[in-house]
């Protein structure tokens, strides 16, 4: 019984919380932050200019925020699961009506000190929301029609709001985050298989309904050399940059593809291309290993958590991060069509980093409060 009392002891001291930190995860995140900062420095042409400064500020603020989050009991994050989801959904609605339009889509809301992209936050808060939803549910109820319908609505609502922005890439990533939780929650795998089959069968029809520019992206992915200076330009130049990097890369600040401005979007979606050009195969694998360690630690934290909510969140978040990374890399390596998807932490962009750091913070909180039971 002694053990039981110790385990249920909720009075963590500050010092204990510090001890419970996952330092491997923390170091990896800081390392990633450092790498992203140097890469950003390189995109600025080897000078400390706007992007580097801004990225540095965000990195500092959000890392501190992450540490702050980790000190807050996991119970708190459980309790705001639905609320945060509703808040972000309302932000998306707000964006739909009053958002800032830039390059043809309405994704941002003006918060005066920062332009927030609520769809990025949704990637995290949908996990939180669904984790809470499935936390108390009995396994036999998980596959009930009511549950499935509810969870589908939870996923489809923000998806729809993001698609109309329009931002297909982010909406797909939101769906992936949500589906990952459904998967871990134990929804019968035949549903997943049927959905997959249905998706593959309906793919041609979906393509038929895509907007012309989206259709072009898909066609370009299938044959980038068809229009090398137009639609195929990004992917061809990205492959040239990565390929010309070789084993050890062209060297820091020596990536000709990015310096001479052949690379598009080098600050955001194509940042991995620049990194890969300058640091080569070895550097890219090192970066991948850092990401793998991060994901591994997230899963390990989930596995060691006593509460089902924390487990579900960590597994879901780990899977989501994994998907974000692989989709971004596959895209710049020419394995997937170009969809707007940032590389977590590495890419320039406040909202994406904010969301990722909140995720890390909650995971860290789960670690710090791993013995916390949630009724």
């Amino acid at each position: 019984m002694y053990q039981h009392t110790r385990l249920t002891n909720n009075n963590f001291t500050f010092f204990q919380k510090f001890r419970n930190f996952d330092y491997i995860l923390l170091i990896c995140i800081l390392l990633l932050g450092f790498i992203s900062l140097t890469t950003m420095y390189s995109t600025d042409g080897g000078k400390i200019l706007f992007h580097t400064k801004s990225h540095f500020t965000k990195l500092m603020v959000f890392t501190i925020m992450m540490l702050f989050i980790s000190f807050i009991n996991i119970k708190f994050w459980f309790s705001i699961g639905y609320l945060s989801y509703i808040v972000v959904v309302s932000l998306l609605v707000w964006t739909y009506f009053f958002g800032i339009t830039s390059s043809g889509s309405k994704r941002w809301m003006d918060l005066y000190f920062i332009n927030l992209q609520p769809s990025e936050l949704m990637k995290i808060f949908i996990i939180l929301c669904l984790a809470k939803y499935f936390h108390r549910m009995k396994l036999e109820n998980v596959n009930s029609v009511y549950t499935i319908l509810t969870s589908l609505i939870i996923i489809l609502l923000p998806m729809g709001l993001v698609i109309v922005q329009p931002d297909l890439g982010t909406s797909v990533l939101i769906a992936v985050s949500g589906i990952a939780v459904l998967w871990f929650a134990g929804i019968n795998h035949k549903y997943f298989i049927y959905t997959m089959l249905g998706f593959v069968i309906s793919l041609p029809f979906v393509i038929a309904f895509l907007k012309p520019y989206q259709k072009l992206r898909v066609l370009t992915f299938l044959n980038p050399d068809k229009d090398p200076l137009g639609a195929g330009y990004q992917i061809i130049q990205s492959k040239i940059a990565v390929g010309s990097g070789g084993i050890f890369g062209k060297g820091f600040l020596k990536g000709t593809q990015s310096y001479l401005e052949f690379l598009p979007e080098k600050h955001t979606d194509f940042i991995f291309t620049l990194f890969s050009e300058e640091f080569g195969f070895v550097g890219s694998v090192v970066l991948l290993v850092i990401y793998i360690i991060i994901i591994y630690r997230i899963i390990a934290i989930g596995a060691n958590s006593r509460s089902y909510f924390a487990k579900l969140f960590c597994y879901g978040f780990g899977a989501a991060i994994f998907v974000f990374i692989t989709i971004n890399m596959s895209m710049v390596l020419g394995l997937l069509p170009i969809v707007g998807s940032p590389l977590p932490i590495m890419s320039y962009g406040g909202s994406s980093m904010l969301a990722t750091m909140i995720g890390f913070g909650i995971v860290m909180s789960a670690r710090v409060h791993s013995q916390q039971l949630i009724a």
Binding site: I240, G245, G246, E261, S284, I292, I295, A303, S330, L335
Partner: protein, 624 residues
């Protein structure tokens, strides 16, 4: 509680199982991404490295420096000069409008020129060089240099361009260069390879024939450029090779004299070394200044040249087809001797005209020459005599000899693409070309170089040279290092059956020039050093009617286009001959009064220059 905890266990089992499935899936995806990275960065690295270099490195070719032409003595007759140009890079100009109008004032550009510049600017990118003026005078160039302080972005540039220092003297040999057009680029691989905007290539003459030797190779600048094509830094400068310098066999002094002699006349002079076949001078008059074409000829100048009735664009030496007139007589006589038709003692009585085949054929001398032998017939150019031997000889045998001595076919093969064959008629030719049988009357007039027969001045010169050298074949050349085309076995191939026949002809030509009653006696030089032998010719351009024959008009009384062409062929010095020449003066009237005196002046200079020419030759051997 038990219920709930067993449910928890089930839930945990489920989530862990699924975590395991997800984990394996992740593993495979990661392997996929890493192998993709490996494929791109390690396996295909070379390919992408090349592509990346292709992206970032761009070459700029600069116009190659063209090879020069030198005369026999090493004087530059087509060279390069530094052209003063004005370049503007619009991007570097703060106020383009101001600068361009300021330049318009300073350079005194006409409105059309100014519009051209503005049009060019519109068509090019702002960082591309705009050539405002490509050949400024020194005065304007220095004026611009003085005003540079308020012409930001204007660059005075010295660039290399073609220059012909002897103006019209060599135009018909060398030709000229001008901007390459699409045809030039398409037809010549090397032009395509070396092409840069503004590249000048040979349009005609040797400039065109030897384009591939002259053109040289580009200087190449390699720059790193960004995605928008802007130069970032220079990586390399590769110096090109200057085109080959070509040495010609011509003597500028003699060429200049030829030009002077034919001033205001239409015609041709060519001089040849009778042993080596080297062309000493070759001039066609009137000529024009090739420098006019280098930067594009103005419409006015072009119209003047094009509409000149004396046809300066025609190279009369190679393209002009003339009836040889009496200058053919040495060949007619030689042919008759060679074929055994006549001997030196054969005599004909000339009464001024002769009736053959119901036609009257006139001798140029109304009173007739009386009884003439071969030597006197040549000396006095008696037509009756040659009517008679031509009749006996027949046109086929005559044409055989004429062709053997170089008439009726191109002298320089394909060196000058404009060169014409001329025409040596025979019975077969007439049947093929005109579908009619040969008339005997046509043989008669062919005997005095009239009728169908057409020769170019260079052919006449070659013929004379081959008679002068004792009847041996030579291969005319104008380029010094042009040996490779001639097989050594071809040297000194005799063209005669009996060398004595050649001697007879030479002697007759000597008489024609140096003895009383000879047609060119008045142009003789008595000093044996300069003494030459020749044959006059007067070619009718139209048939003389009976009425005109009675009128017997003086040359000056006949309209220009109807006057006879004056011809003269000669070689000298008579003892140990070395040079042969042919002179044609279009509508010059009479060979003995118009053409032969030119030979006198030419031979004086040619022989004087001979020693200098020899000394150069010796130097050449010494150097080896």
């Amino acid at each position: 509680m038990i219920n709930s905890s067993s449910d928890n266990v089930k839930k945990l089992n489920s989530i862990n199982r699924r975590m395991f499935i997800t984990g394996s899936l992740k593993f495979f995806i990661m392997v996929g991404i890493i192998s993709r990275l490996f494929f791109l960065q390690v396996k295909e690295n070379k390919k992408y490295l090349t592509l990346s270099d292709k992206n970032r490195i761009r070459e700029w070719k600069l116009a190659p420096v063209r090879g020069e032409f030198h005369d026999y003595f090493g004087n530059v007759i087509a060279g390069n000069f530094e052209a003063y140009q004005l370049h503007v890079i619009p991007e570097q100009v703060e106020n383009f409008k101001y600068v361009i109008y300021r330049l318009k004032d300073l350079l005194e550009l006409s409105d059309t020129e100014f519009k051209k510049v503005l049009k060019k600017k519109k068509e090019s990118k702002p960082w591309e060089t705009l050539i405002v003026s490509n050949n400024l005078s020194w005065e304007k160039f220095s004026k611009i240099n003085n005003h540079l302080y308020d012409l930001n972005g204007v660059k005075p540039v010295i660039s290399i361009s073609r220059n012909y220092p002897f103006n019209e003297n060599f135009t018909h040999i060398i030709g000229y260069v001008s901007q390459a057009n699409e045809q030039d680029i398409e037809n010549t691989e090397l032009i395509k390879k070396n092409f840069v905007p503004g590249l000048k290539v040979g349009k005609i003459g040797l400039e065109k024939s030897f384009e591939e030797k002259l053109i040289g190779t580009n200087d190449i600048e390699r720059y790193e450029v960004n995605a928008y094509g802007r130069r970032i830094s220079q990586l390399e400068f590769q110096k090109g090779k200057k085109g080959q310098t070509l040495k010609l066999t011509v003597d500028t002094e003699i060429q200049k004299l030829a030009n002077e002699l034919l001033k205001d006349k239409a015609g041709s002079i060519c001089v040849m070394d009778i042993f080596t076949g080297e062309v000493i001078a070759m001039h066609s008059s009137p000529s024009f200044d090739p420098n006019l074409f280098v930067f594009g000829i103005s419409q006015d100048n072009w119209q003047i040249i094009r509409n000149d009735p004396m046809k300066p664009l025609l190279n009369k030496t190679l393209q002009g087809r003339y009836s040889p007139g009496s200058t053919l007589k040495p060949i007619v006589a030689l042919s008759a001797l060679e074929n055994g038709i006549i001997n030196t003692k054969f005599t004909v009585r000339c009464t001024g005209k002769t009736e053959l085949y119901d036609q009257t054929y006139h001798c140029w001398k109304k009173e007739g020459h009386g009884y003439v032998s071969l030597r006197n017939a040549m000396k006095m150019s008696c037509d009756t005599y040659f009517y008679e031997i031509a009749r006996k000889l027949g046109v086929d045998k005559l044409s055989e000899t004429a062709k053997k001595f170089g008439l009726g076919k191109k002298v320089f093969d394909n060196l000058f693409e404009i060169e014409k064959d001329g025409l040596i008629p025979n019975t077969q030719w007439k049947k093929n070309a005109l579908g009619k049988g040969w008339l005997l009357g046509e043989t008669i007039i062919t005997g005095i170089g009239q009728g169908y027969i057409q020769t170019t001045p260079i052919q006449l010169c070659l013929m004379t040279a081959q008679i002068a050298n004792g009847g041996y074949k030579i291969y005319p050349k104008i380029l010094i290092d042009d040996k490779d085309k001639i097989k050594p076995s071809d040297y000194y191939t005799p063209l005669y059956k009996d060398s004595r026949n050649i001697k007879i002809i030479q002697d007759a030509m000597f008489g024609s020039t140096n003895e009383v009653m000879g047609t060119s006696y008045r142009s003789r030089i008595d000093n044996p050093k300069y003494q030459f032998a020749g044959k006059t010719g007067t070619a009718q351009v139209k048939k003389i009617t009976e009425r005109e024959r009675e009128l017997d008009l003086k040359t000056s009384e006949i309209p220009y286009e109807q006057r006879d062409h004056a011809l003269y062929i000669a070689y000298g010095p008579y003892v140990n001959p070395r040079y042969a020449l042919s002179i044609v003066v279009e509508h010059g009237g009479n060979g003995s009064t118009t053409a032969a005196p030119m030979a006198k002046r030419l031979f004086k200079l040619i022989i004087d220059r001979h020693e200098i020419r020899q000394s150069i030759n010796q130097k050449k051997y010494l150097e080896i």
